[in-house]
């Protein structure tokens, strides 16, 4: 009896086909954009403008996220570790979790909300108000002029931003440990430096570069393909943030697996 299976299989198959179609479009968009990242002319002025937008203007948000994360990390691990008299492991916990996971992931999620949305809205508005058509008419490739500078800026800037987040996050842990939990500053700093491993920081920065690519790609892709006026632009903005966030979390797992799974 094959009949009862059909109602289940059909929607599943349809969803799977739709997924394949979206993935295909995305891959084509990404490869076209990437090919323009490596071919002159390069728009230095636009890249710098995007870097300032992504990096400099995200500093307050990312800094606040990082410092509170570091602080709460120290506090929580203290309540746990104190039961086993293992308080001395706190600098280790803070350093490893911030550099490996929380720095890159939380900073990128914040940037996804800020930058991914802004890019989708800006490019989406350009699409529905025919500005992208105007760009093409003026013999300027929109991938080259709009997408490539944003991708380059995202990949270059996010690691810098995450490095700052790492430092601020570790400093947040330090603040709570010293002023609230009564650690000795010199020992804490020494322990922190002992546990600071190049590979941890490096893996975090690699993640940041990948996430920077994901955020800007999603912002550009959804903006570029938006249609239907203000509502379409709003939809594109939401899609950019949601898809970037989900991709960040799943790629975080994949990269962690590549770096640390033996």
């Amino acid at each position: 009896m094959a009949e009862p299976v059909v109602p289940v299989i059909q929607p599943l198959g349809r969803a799977f086909l739709a997924f394949l179609a979206v993935t295909g479009r995305l891959v084509m968009f990404a490869s076209q954009a990437l090919s323009h990242c490596f071919r002159p002319p390069f728009f230095g002025r636009l890249i710098v403008r995007q870097m300032i937008e992504i990096g400099y203007y995200s500093l307050p948000v990312v800094g606040l996220t990082a410092i509170f994360t570091g602080m709460v990390l120290a506090l929580q691990s203290y309540t746990g570790f104190a039961r086993f008299s293992a308080e001395s492991a706190i600098p280790n916990v803070v350093v490893v979790s911030i550099t490996r996971e929380l720095g890159p992931v939380l900073a990128s999620l914040m940037v996804a909300g800020r930058i991914g949305a802004a890019m989708a809205a800006e490019i989406g508005t350009m699409r529905v108000t025919e500005q992208i058509d105007a760009l093409v008419t003026l013999a300027t490739n929109p991938f080259k002029y709009l997408v490539a500078p944003r991708l380059i800026a995202g990949v270059v800037t996010l690691p810098m931003l995450v490095l700052v987040a790492d430092i601020i996050g570790i400093f947040g842990g330090y603040l709570v440990s010293i002023y609230k939990l009564g650690f000795n500053p010199d020992t804490y700093i020494k322990n922190t430096l002992d546990f600071l491993i190049f590979q941890d920081v490096f893996s975090g920065l690699v993640k940041a570069a990948v996430f920077g690519f994901i955020i800007t790609l999603m912002g550009c892709y959804h903006g570029y393909n938006s249609k239907g006026g203000a509502q379409g632009v709003g939809q594109a903005t939401t899609n950019a943030v949601v898809s970037a966030s989900i991709l960040i979390l799943s790629f975080n797992y994949i990269i962690t697996e590549l770096f640390f799974a033996r």
Partner: protein, 273 residues
Amino acid sequence: MSPDPRAPAPRAPGGTTPKIRIRGLKKAFGSNVVLDGVDLEIAPGESLVVIGGSGTGKSVLLKCILGLLTPEAGSIQVDGEETVGLSEREMDRVRRKFGMLFQSAALFDSLPVWENVAFGLIQAKEMKRAEARKLADRRLADVGLEPRVGELYPAELSGGMRKRVGLARAIATSPEIIFFDEPTTGLDPIMGHIIDKLIVKLTSKLGATGLSITHDMASARRISTRMAMLYKGRIVWNGPTAEIDRSGNPYVEQFIHGTDEGPIDIPLQDHFA
């Protein structure tokens, strides 16, 4: 009358290659067939106005010629070169011949007015910014705007000013062919008149070929040397502007008189009867 039955267009003077030659152009969006075999020729130096009701596909026609939309079938030749099916890179080369004033002006709102005008010069012609700035100011003066306006952003302009900036941008690179998509719609009659005069003056100054779209008949008469009427995806009439009033074509007559009685049917349901 042309011997080609599908193209009642009078041949270009002297039988030279037409600037633009369109044959059997078809474009549909899903089941909505917009262009259904358009045949049109535009001779060098002439100014053709395409008239037609709202939603008949006039803007779509321009976008097909510019390669912004890909037609399903048909041929478009620019200076005798087939452009349907060209690669993006080759198409960019052809696009340098064109200037376009968009229906909504489509100014880049992240750039100040002068950079909008200078955009094609800086990007496509790789001109130095300072030099492009000077030329942009001159173009702004051409359309009756002070250099001060160059510092403003598009959001700070009125509708009429936007149209004029769009016009300045369309002519900045001294293109051979200029498209005007409803240059006077949404403007007061005086501003409409001024824009019309600018279009005539600037295209003749550049020696450019013009293709305009409008449903404003007064404006169409002022800027055109020839008119063509688009209806149901085809060119139903095509002739010199001077002959528009004795076209003998029922579609054209209904359109220029703006009556609701004639062969053009606009499906409306009357719920107040």
